[in-house]
């Protein structure tokens, strides 16, 4: 068994495992009860695609795939950051938004004490946190 054959076989097995990973993670994208779940699963999918590209680079011998993997990682990171900002700018959950909110309805109350967070400017959110911290410091 030549070294090339060993690497080729293990690359094929890794491709099969990564395909299973892709299917499992995309199930969470489809089912995922909340939006952050789907964003997290999409982040995992982009990581899996990077792994795919690395394995294809091993299998074909083209080193260019590694550059593609690096740029895909950059795009995936920026996409996750943008989705997170979107979740933040969408404002607090309404009380009837999905199973997570329904299960913890009582504890959602403290989050809804800042309804003007949906003014969707970050400068609005920043001073929001500092008075809260100040009141906690006063209390203790």
């Amino acid at each position: 068994m030549t070294p090339d054959a060993i690497v080729s076989i293990s690359a094929s097995v890794a491709l099969v495992i990564l395909a299973a990973t892709f299917l499992v993670a995309s199930w969470r994208v489809i089912v995922g009860p909340t939006l952050p779940d789907r964003i997290l699963a999409l982040d995992t999918l982009s990581g899996t695609a990077i792994g795919f590209l690395a394995v294809v680079a091993v299998k074909t011998g083209f080193a260019l795939y590694i550059d593609i993997a690096i740029s895909l990682g950059l795009v995936g990171f920026l996409a996750t950051v943008a989705f997170a900002r979107f979740v933040l700018s969408r404002g607090p959950l309404p009380a009837s938004a999905g199973p997570m909110a329904a299960q913890t309805d009582k504890t959602v109350r403290p989050a809804s004490k800042k309804p003007d967070a949906k003014v969707k400017s970050d400068a609005k959110l920043k001073p929001k946190t500092t008075p809260a911290r100040k009141t906690k410091k006063d209390r203790t």
Binding site: P3, I6, V7, S10, A11, V13, A14, I17, L18, A20, T21, V24, A25, R28, T34, P36, D37, L40, A41, D43, T44, G47, T48, I50, G51, A54, V55, A57, V58, G61, A63, Y65, I66, D67, A69, I70, G73, F77, T80, V81, F83, A84, R85, V87, L88, G91, P92, L93, M100, A101, Q103, T104, T107, V108, A111, A117, L125, A132, R133, K136
Partner: protein, 110 residues
């Protein structure tokens, strides 16, 4: 002989990376909560794709390609916690709460 050592190292790295990625995906599906899912995905997923990139760099045998794959690995290690923390913070701020098996939420008392 050296060829066999390099091939076995690359094979082990490929298997380990693919299995780490699979563990991350299974954690995303099986864990009960956004935050526990994030714990699985952002650690095991990063290590998985990083090990696969590392294997590709070793297999190429050129120092330039290896340096690029190492740069990609370091980049993922730097960015994955930032992305996960940003997403968790945004989700917590907008009212997604921990599910009952979690017993304590320090951010709620802020």
């Amino acid at each position: 002989m050296m060829d066999y050592v390099a091939a076995i190292v690359v094979s082990v790295l490929l298997m380990a990376g693919a299995l780490f990625a699979l563990v991350a995906a299974l954690g995303i599906v099986r864990l009960p909560d956004l935050y526990t899912r994030m714990h699985a995905a952002s650690k095991a997923g990063t290590v998985g794709s990083g090990l696969l990139l590392f294997a590709a760099g070793i297999e190429s045998g050129e120092i330039a390609v290896f340096a690029r794959s190492l740069a990609g690995f370091v980049f993922f290690i730097l960015t994955a916690p930032v992305a996960a923390h940003l997403l968790a913070r945004a989700a917590h701020k907008t009212g997604y709460r921990l599910l009952p098996p979690s017993v304590r939420d320090d951010l709620l008392e802020r």
